[in-house]
Structures are given as structure tokens and as C-alpha cells.
Amino acid sequence: MGRRGVRVAASDVPTSIHLRRSYLRERPAALPELSELDVVRHFTELSRRNFGVDTSFYPLGSCTMKYNPKVAERIASYPGFAHLHPLLPQLRMGGILTQGALEVLYEMERLLCEIVGMAAFTMQPLAGAHGELTGIMMMAAYHRHRRNHKTTVLIADSAHGTNPASAAIAGYTVASVPSDAQGGMDVQALKGMLNDQVAGLMLTCPNTLGLFNPNVREICDLIHSVDGLAYYDGANLNAIVGKVKPADLGFDIVHLNLHKTFATPHGSGGPGSGPVGVVEKLAEFLPVSTVIKRSDGTYALEYDRPNSIGYIAPFYGNFGIILRAYVYILMLGREGLERVAENAVLNANYVREKLKDYYHLPYPQVCKHECVFSAARQAERGVHALDIAKALIDRGFHPPTMYFPTTVKEALMIEPTETESKETLDAFIDAMIEIARLAETHPEQITAAPTTTPVGRLDETAAARNLNIASL
């Protein structure tokens, strides 16, 4: 006892303040007494229990857990960027101190416009779902401006849950469009749901099954036929980046997840970034402020936007994340981004092909960046998707996304991303095959997993029912 990491100097400020006795402790506070070394060892030990892309393969479907290049981290930590105060651009003479940062924002908007074919972008939304809400608010502003009376947003039944949530928070009623036998949006069903009340449609393309909908142009045309807007959920842009521009498919609004396609860090809640791009007719509704380039080549923030949906975030978005994505795009260039999509799709199809004899594949066609298996065959032996996920942890892999999309029973959604080598994919495939075999011969070994972790199977039900945040 009596150890300490920091020795606080005795105060040389005369203390003349007398506190009332009732405010004073009777005994010293029971603070932990630890040396600096104790603390370092404790947190280093905890960090070694952490799992991340930097430690192992992380095929979490729909999340695009790709490697985050360290050069982007290095540039984002340059003091000229990292130490900027966000109020500077609004202060007198502050503009001159922030030209570099404003240029990054402006140029990033231009690059994203080029990549997805939109006319204008806002970099402000702080995450993908925030981008969705911003996009739907602009959809609503557009209809209000045209005095359209619209009530409903159509969403695919395989959509991420954030889609209906965003539409509902923006004030719309949500109607779910069923999938067809090929896993895409059912165009006939969509036709039956179209009417003057439809404000727009939200579509993830390729969808959460990793499938590119061949009818996507027809779907966008149908929505436009009732003066609705087509919203592109960019969660899966990684599969088609550099290959297809959502604007060319007929979309009017696009949100991107910089932490997915453009390799900024993510997981455990952020910080995220969900820029939104729009076609020309929606540009007037973008949030304030926007970055403009003056005729003398300098950059400034523009606040005079009478038809804007207003402020959606403090300052200018998660600048550090935008900067990392900017570095990534410049580093890869046009050809590099195309190779991202090619390799992401190649890797997913390699895994799909190698595992299809061992796990049920409800949609057997060629996929894009991810493939969705079903553990239905294993479930007959009492081995469920959850058990397979736990068994993968024992084998050094992060589990894939489970039980999503909800249109697939016992879903296992695998997204390898483009940054993994064939050796890593082969090791994962071997582990999956071993698990499938054990599910046949020794199912109890799979249902007992994980056995190599600091804690075993947690009671998720009890944790959800009796949430105790004080213990976190």
C-alpha cells in the first residue's frame, strides 16, 4: 500500500477558505493505490483481450471491417489538423488559419460527387444513420417545397433496421416491400404499393444478401413516376465503388459510410461519418453550413441557405474521420478504388464457393462483397448460427454477422473485404469446414464454445432483461 503513480506537488496557494465540517471527509477517500507500472500492466492486459482488424480476421457482414491504413492515422495526427479549434473558421481572421482544413472538406465533397455521380455533398452527418435521417429530411423538404402531400417511404424487407427508423423519425410512415425469389426487391409487389402518397424509396444496393438487383433502374424509374425520390443506402458501396455511380442507376440521394468504403476506423460506436450527396434539384436543401471556393481560390463557410434543412450537427462533421477518408481516396486513386471493389467481390465469392457444400446457401448465385449462408442444416443437429459464431472465436476469428438479414433463417453473413489475403481466407474456410464437420459428429463441442476466452458463454437474455449499467 501507499504506492502511487503520480506525486502531486504540495499546494503553494494559501488556503483561507474554510469549508463547513459537514462538507469534509471524516476519512481519506479510498482511492486505488497503484504504481504507474501496475496501471500500465493492467491496461495492457485489457488491451490484449481486445479484438480488432489489427489483430485478426473480422468478417462481420455488412460492416466492411477492412484494414485501416496507418498513413491516414499519421496524417490525421499532424498538429496543423489535429489541434485546430472548430470555432476558428467563424472567428475574424480565423479563415486564414483554416484554409487547409476547409480545402480538405471542399475537395472531399468534390471527390465523393465524382465517385457516386451526385451534384453536391454535405460532410456533416456524424454516422451512417445520421446521414440517412439527413437524407430523408431533405426528401421531406423537397416535397414540402413542391407542396406535395406525401406520407410513406418504401423500404425493402431485407433493409438495415436504420432505414425504417430514419424514415419514421423524419415523420414518414414506413411500408415494407417484399423480396422476390432471387432475393431482390419484388418489382411486381412494388408496383402494387405505388401511389401518390409515396415520398420515396430507400434501397441498399447491393442489398444485405450481397446481391446486386438487376432491376434497380426500373425500380428508380417507378419511384420517379409518382414524383418520389430514390434513396441509395451506401452501406454496401464497397462492392461497386469505382464501377457504378448510384446517380447513373437513377438515385437522387446517397449516403456513404466513410468507415466502411473508405477505411476509417470503426466499431464500438464511432466516431463515424455519413456524408450525404444529392442531385442538383435537391442541393438547395443541404444542411448549413457548406464549404465554398471563392473566385480568389480561398475557401469559406457559407451560411446563407434559405431553403436548407438547417443545422444537423455541431461544426463540420467528424473532421478527423473525413480527413482519413480523403487520404485513403487520394492514396488509392481511381484505379485503386476499382480494385477495392474487384477484390472485395472476388474474396466473397471465393468464400461462398468454398463453403457452399458445407453450409446451406439460400441464394446460390454469384454475390457481390458478402455472402449469406444459413446454418439451417446444422440447426437440425442443435447447432445454431450463434454456436458456430462462438466456435469461430475459439479458432481466432471474429464471428460473422448472425441472424441478419432477417429474411434468412439462421443467417451467417460473411464479408471478407478486399484487404484479406488468400492465406487468411483459407484459414477461415478451414475453420468453418471443421465446425460443420463437428456439428455432424460432436455437436456438443460446438455448443460448448467458446472455451479459450476469459469468459465463456454469456447469458445475453439476462443481460438484456436486467441491464446493469453501473457494472460497466
Binding site: 441472424y403 432477417t406 438484456a464 432483461r465
Partner: protein, 129 residues
């Protein structure tokens, strides 16, 4: 397991007509099995109006959150508060103690239009494939 005395909606709610035109509503065993352990239920207030095919509540499990749809429209006459405190009752007794709401059906034809147990059984088998 399917309760023969109930009728069913395609969204996996069961409905059973009681004396006096009251319709008791719950979730089918199939739905509960698919959801996994239920951790939270949101049910309407007594006296509220519900419309056939529209959400009357939310069920949240360790796997997913889903809307519960009204198999018939009408006024909510009673709500089973016990389910919120003990969601496991859904698994133990889906068609009895695990009932969710009682609805004073506005239109008896809506009840008549629901699937009979045999038809629902076939419907579930088709979904399984």
C-alpha cells in the same frame, strides 16, 4: 405447436374468438421459436384503437426486434401486463398465459378472414423451406 382452436395471421399472430365477440391475441409458438429469448414487449394502452394489419406493439428478442400486428381491428379491452415482467411466459404457454391483448373486434369478418390452424400449419411449413 399450433393451437387448433385459434386462427392465424400471416404475420404469425394467433387470434381466438371468445364469448361476447372478444378476440384474444398472442404470438404463435413458431414466431416465438424464431425470435429466440424475448427480452422486451411493448403493448398498447387499454382503450386504444387498433387497425387490422397495423402494428399494435413491439417484441424485442436477443436476435431481433419486430412489430406485432393486429389480426383484427377494434378497441383494446385488456392487456396482459404479466408478459412484460416475465417474457418467458410466451415460451411456456404461448396460447394461454402468454396472450398479449384482448380486442373488441369492430368487424367479425376480419376474424373470419384469418387462417384456420391447418392452413397456418401449411403456411409455416412453406416458410421453413
Amino acid at each position: 405447436m399450433i393451437d387448433k382452436a385459434s386462427r392465424y395471421a400471416e404475420t404469425h399472430e394467433w387470434a381466438r374468438l371468445e364469448d361476447g365477440g372478444m378476440v384474444v391475441v398472442g404470438l404463435s409458438s413458431f414466431a416465438i421459436e424464431q425470435l429466440g429469448d424475448v427480452v422486451y414487449m411493448e403493448l398498447p394502452a387499454v382503450g386504444g384503437e387498433v387497425t387490422k394489419g397495423e402494428a399494435l406493439g413491439v417484441v424485442e428478442s436477443v436476435k431481433a426486434a419486430a412489430d406485432v400486428y393486429a389480426p383484427v381491428g377494434g378497441k383494446v379491452a385488456a392487456v396482459n401486463d404479466a408478459v412484460q415482467g416475465d417474457p418467458d411466459v410466451l415460451k411456456r404457454d404461448a396460447y394461454g398465459a402468454g396472450w398479449l391483448v384482448k380486442i373488441e373486434a369492430a368487424d367479425p369478418k376480419e376474424y373470419e378472414a384469418l387462417m384456420l390452424a391447418d392452413a397456418y400449419e401449411k403456411f409455416v411449413q412453406n416458410q421453413e423451406q
